[in-house]
């Protein structure tokens, strides 16, 4: 049978098309396109928009005009903003430090054998699972100026002699938000570090024991160095989450008393959505970006090294 050249061409074209459709590239792009579309529309575009809005004096209901860096210059001279920067750093550094130290201790405890281990582990994870806004309401009630159950217990045990003004005093308000953030974030640290601990090969410890190394030296020379990757990841994640935190402060203190616990996100919310100065609020939000950038760069460098 003679096949006409036209028909042959058509055949190979069809073959080429099917091969093209079945190729990895097309399948790949097809599979990522829904995710990509959504992320471009609702993440990349808003980010560009955030930069644009921060360069305008937009207020609620009016588009505003372009004012270059005025919002940022104004913030640099704003006493309240200075306090916000300072508070954000105090909040982030102290909670990450506490979560890491306590998380390490808790992970070492959970790595031992004891009855009902799964139940205990599950119970300890609860603060991290339950909706933060709702559990923080419970803390708000526990810190209540008149009915604080924490004061009730501390007074009853004779640990303090007069009530602590948890949320009413600038110093104690900061302590309160730090306690609650630590409470909520601790499980993430503990479980992640525990996973790192379980991945350390046991023969290493046996060898160290044969060499006569005591528990502390084993911890210092084997456990800590091998935990380093997990600790790095957990600390970087937690740093950016805490720096950008909103709910705990919003519900417990709303940034008060007298701005003592105001952090970036709560100030941005107040300025943009409560006071309606959207341009300025956007500028405050954008201060979270350098922090994000640093974390991402460190993280990438870390991942590349492995």
């Amino acid at each position: 049978m003679i096949v006409s050249p036209v028909r042959m061409e058509r055949l190979s074209l069809r073959r080429w098309t099917t091969r093209f459709i079945k190729s990895d590239s097309v399948t790949g792009y097809g599979l990522i396109s829904p995710a990509l579309f959504l992320m471009l529309l609702l993440l990349a575009y808003p980010f560009v928009l955030a930069v644009y809005i921060s360069l305008t004096d937009r207020v609620l209901g009016e588009p505003g005009k372009f004012i270059w860096l005025s919002n940022f210059l104004k913030l640099f001279q704003d006493k309240f903003f200075h306090e916000t920067v300072r508070n954000s750093f105090i909040y982030t550094i102290s909670t990450v430090f506490l979560k890491l130290t306590l998380g390490l201790i808790l992970a070492l405890l959970l790595n031992q054998d004891f009855p009902r281990k799964n139940l205990v582990r599950g119970a300890l994870l609860l603060p991290w699972i339950v909706p933060t806004s709702l559990s923080v309401l419970t803390w708000l009630w526990m810190f209540d100026s008149l009915f604080s159950v924490i004061n009730y217990i501390l007074l009853g045990l004779g640990i303090i002699s007069k009530k602590i003004p948890w949320l009413g005093d600038p110093f104690w308000a900061m302590v309160s938000v730090i306690i609650v953030n630590t409470w909520r974030g601790l499980p993430f640290f503990a479980v992640s570090i525990l996973a790192g601990l379980m991945a350390i090969p046991q023969p290493l410890y046996e060898a160290a024991r044969v060499d006569g190394a005591q528990a502390f030296r084993q911890f210092w020379h084997i456990t800590l160095p091998l935990l380093q990757p997990v600790i790095a990841v957990v600390v970087l994640f937690s740093t950016i989450w805490t720096f950008a935190d909103f709910q705990i402060v919003y519900i417990l203190t709303h940034g008060g008393p007298i701005n003592a616990t105001q952090i970036f996100a709560t100030m941005a919310y107040d300025v943009a959505l409560v006071a309606g100065r959207i341009g300025e609020g956007s500028a405050i939000s954008l201060f979270l970006f350098p922090a994000l950038l640093v974390v991402v760069i460190l993280m990438l460098r870390y991942l590349r090294r492995d």
């Binding site: 990895d24 790949g28 995710a35 808003p46 599950g122 119970a123 339950v130 309401l137 519900i251 954008l286």
Partner: protein
């Protein structure tokens, strides 16, 4: 004999006591939430009562809550939004995760990197401009505002988790299936997906939890009572003009916390293994 005593003492001080302290710290707020919601108002605000126990348990607070507020509506909003967004995100996450784990195409690495970075972008960085995007889409004050925005943080999470899972599944079986005439998509659906179930269950469940707990977007985009989710409605609708009805607040918090706690207790093993796998793979 003395040695054994010493061991027991060491175990008590080195394990049980510190563990008990951690458990107390983690669980006391839930205990307080629980007992506060079953107390009557006179008992709740009586400073002379035994405050760490319920003397006269009552369902008064729950009754008031259901009578006075739209709590059922808030719960159903939360269920609807969380279920829908976690399903959408899982579907998109499976697709993207599979593509990034298995297929070689130009730009794959860049997309993988972008996913990872977006996973770290805090919602508080973009909530202000996103509010105006939501407005121009005509979705302000509707639960659909949350249905479209939640996947922006859920998809990166699912994709990132699932890349790791898909990579841990050996390629051989899939390749055999493809030699036997299965298409790429067929191999993915019939061979890879069933093997990735633990990872899929974990990321779906965790997405559900993340949606259920989300606060910033829900607070910003939705202002009418009937469209709020439970995690925003309780702190905003139940506190009026600085008047705190603690009994009702605690009852509502309990109701809002139970679904996630239940979900998570059923899938505890998946959860811990998924979480630890995720932490290790970073």
């Amino acid at each position: 004999m003395r040695r054994r005593h010493l061991q027991i003492i060491k175990r008590i001080f080195g394990l049980y006591l510190p563990l008990a302290a951690f458990l107390f710290f983690a669980l006391f707020p839930f205990y307080w939430m629980l007992i506060s919601s079953f107390k009557s108002n006179p008992e709740l605000y009586n400073l002379r009562a035994k405050r760490l126990w319920i003397n006269n348990p009552t369902l008064e607070q729950f009754k008031e809550l259901f009578r006075k507020t739209a709590i059922l509506r808030w719960l159903s909003n939360s269920f609807f939004i969380s279920f829908l967004t976690s399903t959408i995100s899982m579907a998109f996450g499976i697709m993207a995760g599979y593509a990034l784990a298995r297929l070689k195409f130009p730009g794959a690495e860049a997309f993988g990197l972008a996913t990872f970075i977006t996973y770290l972008v805090p919602t508080t960085l973009i909530f202000i401009p996103l509010a105006s995007v939501v407005k121009s889409l005509g979705l302000t004050n509707s639960i659909w505002a949350l249905v479209v925005t939640y996947p922006t943080f859920l998809i990166p999470f699912c994709t990132w988790m699932l890349i790791a899972y898909f990579k841990s599944i050996p390629k051989d079986m899939e390749e055999c299936a493809m030699i036997d005439g299965c298409s790429r998509t067929g191999a993915m659906i019939r061979i890879v997906l069933p093997m990735a179930i633990p990872g899929i269950v974990f990321s779906g469940m965790f997405s559900f939890t993340l949606s259920w707990n989300e606060f910033v977007y829900a607070l910003t985009f939705i202002s009418s009572t009937t469209h709020k989710t439970i995690s925003v409605a309780v702190p905003t609708e139940l506190i009026r003009q600085d008047a705190y009805f603690w009994g009702e607040l605690m009852a509502a918090s309990l109701i809002g916390s139970v679904p996630v706690a239940l979900l998570y207790s059923f899938f505890m093993d998946y959860f811990v293994s998924g979480l630890t796998a995720g932490a290790l793979k970073g």
